[in-house]
Symmetry: C2
Subunit: 294 residues, 2 copies
């Protein structure tokens, strides 16, 4: 399907994309660039990329598909760096967790060429970073949210949908703003809460003792607190308004539960816990498939 | 090691204990009782118990070991129900997630016989309830916290330690109060937060839409929100002071993160996320083994 993938950012997300594309036979060559030369080198040694590029521009040169897999705050600078080589035939995508800021960055950086850019967010990840953890199956069975801009060329949009579908993903389209509102609630806020819980515990004199006693519930609840701090710094800042609004709603829900505890209102507490428990017990990951939301 | 286990409460925790005891060859017979006759019946059909008892008292009759696996608020009434048949030779344990209230309930219910009671909390569980999900391996490799009272007979204490060790657990001893303070932080609060997050999301008009988009991070973070509402109502009420105190610390940590977001203070935010991420990345479940705390 593609001759040459220009991969900018050879970490977990980018490296896994390259491996998945190769495994699916969707690309002939992968030219890769990472900010850290040792990462690019390691990516080649591991067979994640075929050729090392010394710059983002050279990674994009001659590519018919370019993937940006960098922290979202680096999107604009990266797109500016490759702008001179962007052609209308080139499909450019990212994999960032926020989309309104990425769409804005693309408009500013690419200007007339912004139609080549298809913002994408695959709903996957791991709590470990780095090309060493890249795996061809990271995207398999996951949802991918595509948030086209008003300028996105529809041929590129269809190509992007076909590509992700061929990688075993279910594609959903929505606006960047709807995306950011939804993921503030179900992804960005949970990360913020997990980070806050760890810091609240370690801020206590007995914190280490407490952590040594924690079991499987704690393990799963806090898994995402081990996520990459720079990636999450960017996400929490880029989508801060939606995240702060969701955090307010969360604190209200928490305080409603606390009130029932303080009052010893067992029935009210049980009712609220039952609502949460039943909702979560019936929830299935990715239950809604490939639909358009707004 | 034991002739007869009297199992009071044949759900996930009790049923799994019976299966583990049988598998390890530690008990000859299991006599079981559950409040719901259909549960007791099902437990016998599944081979979790050998004989159905029509009451807690009859489940305890003739047993040399009794396990209470009931919601913590039922501890006192259950111990009162079996008091007439409690002998100094009988080892009685529970598996409740709170310990100060359970120790108090045991003192009130058993009076002179309280020395037979060894309060225990195995750090395990699943988000599904019921004897159908009972499994012999639920306790394998887990920590068990034993919180003896001032009256606990030391022979029983040693027997309890040997038993849990034989089931593949690591035993830690501490006071009921230290236990409740620690588990408020690493278990009870995370459950409260997970319940609150689900209710905050479903309380929004777009809640169902948002939930349909959630991925693996959300799945793991909220797994414990599917826990049994009655069990958790009891735990949150029994340990409410410690949980509310931990919730205050948590909200302060959350608001410190929010402040950095509001101010756009990327460095401060990154520093706090790095602290949390490194702490969680280095954490290992049950790293502290079989030590005495206070």
């Amino acid at each position: 399907m593609f001759e040459q993938l220009g991969l900018i950012g050879c970490g977990l997300m980018g490296g896994s994309f390259a491996l998945a594309m190769k495994k699916a036979g969707l690309v002939k060559r992968v030219v890769g660039y990472s900010k850290s030369p040792s990462t690019t080198d390691r990516a080649r040694q591991l067979g994640v990329i075929d050729i090392e590029a010394p710059s983002a521009l050279l990674a994009a040169a001659g590519a018919d598909i370019v993937l940006l897999a960098v922290p979202v705050s680096a999107t604009e600078a990266t797109l500016k760096a490759i702008k001179h080589l962007v052609t209308p035939q080139m499909l450019i995508m990212d994999v960032g967790s926020t989309k309104a800021d990425v769409a804005q960055a693309a408009r500013r950086a690419l200007r007339d060429q912004v139609g080549s850019f298809v913002p994408a967010h695959p709903i996957t990840g791991r709590e470990v970073a780095g090309v060493e953890h890249a795996e061809a199956e990271l995207y398999l069975g996951r949802q991918v949210i595509i948030t086209p801009t008003e300028r996105t060329i529809s041929a590129h949009l269809h190509k992007a949908e076909e590509l992700w579908t061929a990688l075993g993903c279910r594609v959903t389209q929505m606006s960047p703003e709807s995306h950011d509102a939804a993921f503030a609630a179900v992804s960005h806020l949970p990360h913020l809460l997990a980070f806050a819980l760890i810091n609240a515990i370690t801020g206590q004199a007995e914190g280490d003792e407490y952590l040594a006693l924690a079991g499987p519930g704690f393990r799963d609840f806090t898994r995402i607190a081990a996520s990459d701090p720079k990636v999450w710094r960017d996400i929490l800042l880029a989508n801060r308004e939606e995240v702060l609004a969701q955090s307010q709603r969360f604190q209200q829900a928490l305080q409603t539960l606390e009130k029932a505890m303080q009052e010893g209102n067992a029935q009210s507490l049980e009712d609220m816990l039952t609502l949460a428990s039943e909702t979560r017990a019936h929830w299935r990951m990715g239950a809604q498939r490939g639909t358009k939301i707004r």
